[in-house]
Amino acid sequence: MSMPFYVAPEQLMKDRADYARKGIARGRSVLVLRYRDGIAFVAENPSRTLHKVSEIYDRIGFAAVGRYNEFENLRMAGIRYADLRGYSYDRRDVTARGLANAYAQQLGTVFSSGSEKPFEVELVVAEVGQDAARDQIFRIGFDGTIVDETGFAVVGGATEVLSEKLGGGFDADADLASAVRLAASCLGERTHLEVGVLDRTRTQTRKFRAVERDELQSLLGGD
């Protein structure tokens, strides 16, 4: 009878974390930052059809990096969570905090279960408030850690370098064009960008909108 090899729990978790981190670091980064009228999601994304940035609910947006099939599943689960909650209670009862917690639970459970492979994704869930003081940005890691960010969040590869660059020029009172230009210059990318905004000045109840190619070019144009 063969004895199973003993692996220390610390080593097991470290291996799983290394595995997930490696997967995420291969991908391109996403920046989420506040600006005067809301929150902008700026992703480096060569595809025009496979999105990294999405609407979840009236005031809530989503951005992700890592394995596409995994975060697409999480995105759809988030929309189902939000729509069911809003339908059962009220539209105002759907919050980014609740959604971020639900994501953290799922990622954390899978990470520590030991049977399935950990998710190779990092997520950002953001909610635009009635006023700037109530804007919220949450960053959720592959292991279910959840961080409440104040002005901006960076996920993907090279987060430390990007955070430093973005932090240097960040201004929560900047207009959308300046915010997008700053994010684009941090990413060093102008053509393959996917941008979405949660715009609190929109009169519709749905505050999210994808910034189309033409508008993006004019936002970037003032460089």
């Binding site: 999405s54 609407e55 979840i56 759809m76 929309i79 189902r80 729509d83 069911l84 339908y87 059962s88």
Partner: protein
């Protein structure tokens, strides 16, 4: 492809699976407790389609509410109005609104106008059991078809049957009178104002002969809810505009 599409992009199917208790339902013994909403009318015009509903809800011979709303924006380009048991009707509208938005968010594109009309039909069909016990809800659906660039109107029966109407249509207890009225006043290919005048007139005529339909209430400033769908999207006419147009209709009598 087994497993793919295990969960569809339909919100109502998702709810039926994970939280069936959240779907609209009512104990059939309490049918007589449900207030009923009445007449909904719709008419197309050159650049779109207009839908309007009176504001009365009745419980037997009593007026349950004077300012109920029965016409709603379903999404950016479509309108839904419902006659019948008010409580179920409101829930059905709420479910339909989430259904359309849910699909759009999951798929990244909105449903076609025919797709929306079909989804509403299947929601009505889901209510068939209650309809047989007297809690029928009969919706009318209208919207701007962004592909064909035309305003279209759809009616339904209690079994979920879907019928496209040309020109104009009415549902609810005062529908026969409203249709008779629009037959005379509706101008195919007319402008928005003439279509709005026609639907307001038809609601007035329905209220004249049907006790369950409320006429314009000048004393309380309660007027029909009027919504249009066109290339610019769905718009609800402000009460002041509806009041002016109602005055014009009354002057023409």
């Amino acid at each position: 492809m087994s497993g793919v599409g295990e969960l569809s992009s339909s919100f109502s199917q998702f709810v039926a699976r994970v939280a069936p208790e959240a779907l609209p339902r009512v104990d059939a013994e309490h049918v007589q407790l449900a207030p009923h909403g009445t007449t909904i009318v719709a008419a197309s015009y050159a650049d779109g389609v207009v839908m309007a509903g009176d504001r009365r809800a009745t419980m037997g011979s009593l007026i349950a509410q004077r300012d109920i709303e029965k016409v709603f924006g379903a999404d950016e380009f479509s309108i839904v109005g419902i006659a019948g048991a008010a409580g179920i009707a409101m829930e059905l509208v709420r479910l339909f609104q989430v259904e359309l938005q849910h699909y759009e968010k999951l798929e990244g594109v909105a449903l076609s106008l025919d797709g929306k009309a079909n989804r509403l039909g299947s929601l009505v069909r889901g209510n068939l059991e209650l309809a047989l016990r007297g809690l029928a809800v009969i919706p009318m659906f209208a919207g701007w078809d962004v592909d064909r660039r035309v305003g279209r109107i759809f009616s339904y029966d209690a079994t979920g049957g879907r019928y496209e109407e040309t020109g104009f249509h009415a549902v609810g207890s005062g529908a026969a009178f409203a249709r008779g009225s629009m037959k005379k006043t509706h101008q195919p290919g007319g402008d928005e104002t003439s279509a709005v005048l026609s639907v307001i007139r038809s609601l007035y005529d329905a209220a004249d002969d049907d006790s369950a339909t409320g006429g314009p209430d000048l004393a309380r400033s309660i007027f029909p809810v009027v919504m249009t769908a066109s290339a610019a999207g769905v718009r609800q006419l402000p009460t002041s505009d509806v009041a002016d147009l109602t005055t014009r209709v009354l002057e023409m009598l």
